[in-house]
Symmetry: C2
């Protein structure tokens, strides 16, 4: 690289206090997309509505020629074809995935990156074979610390050229619910979700579920690569190493009631009783309560909450709202799990990650 | 509605000359999405990569209870179930769809609406039954002028509350290639693409392909509803009625070479020869030429162009570029059909529609 580095791949930046969305952010927003919130009506998100974040390009991987290397600190390195994986034990798990940056564009000031509002989420039925079995076959050596997962996607980020690569602690990698997934909702993985094979780490934010997986390497040390040590950190200033982003914090989202204005997405709701519905999830434990506010957070009332269909899959909630007073109202919703409840307002951090502040839905009752 | 109308559903607005992307535009961009340009590698766009524009919400239509009403200026009104349509003659057509607003966010000044860059396109195999046969069965009266198509989606737009409804001239509606489509790429239509049934009008911009279709009404006059007479008009000032948006103008897009920077999407390309590829389409005739510029439009050279797999489906093109000089380069591409060639620069109009200016791809050769 040359002195044009900064032009091609500029350093991280926080928006000026009143800065609107930049051309860089728009380029990302037109490619990646959230789940339109009507998608909350489905137990399993239909293909094409699931959120999508792609760091670089969708690579063109030939499934027939594809091989997965398993090596590093193991006794028996492996090389597996897609058929090899398909012959192994087959498991399907319903898992909710959420982007670590969900809610970023609601922060003040706003970290400049993919400008998510609330919608970077989706739930799918992932089918594949347990990673644990593959690691057992490779015989992980006893002093293993981290396992890295490398995708076929290649790019440059903040000046660092790389194949997308993430490390996961060995104890997480050896969990029996972690999958090498080759199907999504009963169909082969679509290209944008990691065809032919991706990692699924139930409970973790999206960055851990490496797509277009080509390499698994066991390390006898902590992985210090870009996506673990530079990106996906909860940092408060540029020099702060910060804490790693790991499991999904509890969040509830509401399917906005009524119908929208095209341009502002403000909702029109008829006067009377409405059943508000939505989903809630957490990567730490089952969600154990959902609360709704119909007065912009001044007061909260408990919603009815369904049990989880399985751990790490979103749970349905319902709340009856009597929309008695015409005019503008702000609805909010928050979830809690065994470790705590969603903050009402956003807690700022430099990368705009793990922002689980309570959704605001502006409605106009007539 | 009350005096809060303007707040809920503001009038049309053009951005200030230096205005960045607004919160309203971002709300649309996080829901709707373009086709990541890597999608140009596929003859048929995989589900979830096809562009998507939804005016209001994705409605929840029960396919079993769904009925299509066919009425108005006909001798024999019909009411058809999904099974009724499936029992009729079955046709599959490959059709390229493009949003009329594609390219809007590249205009100066920028009309405030869905802020598309270049990617609001996709090509699918649509399966359904010809509309013409249904109209023949209903016996359209001889003085029919327009046919309207109404969707189950409901919203408000610039103060006008409406079900999404578009009119089409009777001669277009009676074309033998217009479909009532119930499958996309061999699968039932997904919710976001109009389940259970949508209209497909090959050659027309996306607004004509009404999703979640519930009503077909034949009129003995021109339809003067919002989506024909207020929206989707090529206008130069607010008082101008403008010309209607109809068929897709020719456009070529390039699959950007090399690999990207995450944040800026600028491309890094290795020094040497590269095969540039992409697709070109037109809703007026087959594309008959594609030209590439490697010097930001100063000079143009002809690309190799495949014939169309069928009329109104995109055509593949190829061009060999010798990336000899390191540094920044701007690649451009344009297509032509029997009626003319793409303009190099955008021709402004108030709604930011039919902007078929030539794509610019910024690359850095190393």
């Amino acid at each position: 690289m040359t002195t044009t580095d900064q032009w091609v791949s500029p350093p991280a930046r926080i928006a000026d206090p009143d800065e609107a969305i930049s051309a860089d952010e728009l380029r990302l927003a037109t490619r990646n997309h959230g789940m339109p919130l009507e998608g909350l009506r489905y137990d399993v998100t239909p293909p094409g509505l699931h959120y999508l974040l792609i760091h670089y390009d969708i690579p063109d991987v030939d499934a027939a020629a594809w091989r997965l290397r398993v090596g590093g600190h193991v006794a028996h390195p492996l090389q597996l074809s897609l058929d090899d994986l398909r012959r192994r034990p087959r498991v399907t798990r319903r898992v909710t995935l959420e982007c670590a940056g969900n809610g970023r564009a609601r922060l003040h000031p706003r970290p400049i990156s993919q400008p998510w509002l609330d919608e970077a989420v989706g739930t799918a039925e992932w089918t594949g074979t347990p990673l644990a079995g593959v690691l057992r076959e490779a015989v992980v050596l006893s002093d293993a610390v981290d396992v890295t997962f490398t995708g076929a996607d290649h790019g440059i980020e903040r000046g660092a050229e790389q194949d997308y690569r993430r490390g996961l602690p060995i104890a997480e990698a050896e969990r029996d619910d972690v999958l090498l997934a080759y199907e999504m909702n009963g169909q082969p993985l679509p290209p944008q979700h990691g065809a032919p094979v991706r990692l699924i780490v139930p409970g973790w934010y999206g960055m851990a579920h490496v797509k277009w997986l080509v390499d698994i390497t066991v390390l006898d040390r902590a992985f210090d690569g870009y996506q673990n040590n530079t990106s996906y950190r909860i940092k408060h200033d540029a020099d702060d190493l910060g804490d790693p982003v790991t499991r999904i914090r509890p969040r509830a989202l509401m399917h906005p009631p009524g119908f929208p204005d095209f341009q502002t997405r403000t909702r029109i709701v008829e006067h009377g009783r409405h059943e508000l519905t939505g989903r809630a999830w957490s990567g730490r434990s089952a969600v154990n309560r959902v609360e709704v506010s119909t007065d912009d957070g001044a007061s909260w009332a408990e919603a009815d909450l369904d049990p989880p269909p399985s751990l790490y899959a979103w749970q349905r909630w319902r709340f009856t709202w009597d929309a008695a007073a015409p005019g503008r109202h702000v609805l909010r919703v928050r979830a809690g799990d065994d470790e705590g409840v969603q903050p009402v307002d956003a807690a700022w951090n430099r990368q705009g990650v793990v922002n689980s502040h309570a959704q605001r839905v502006v409605v106009y009752v007539r």
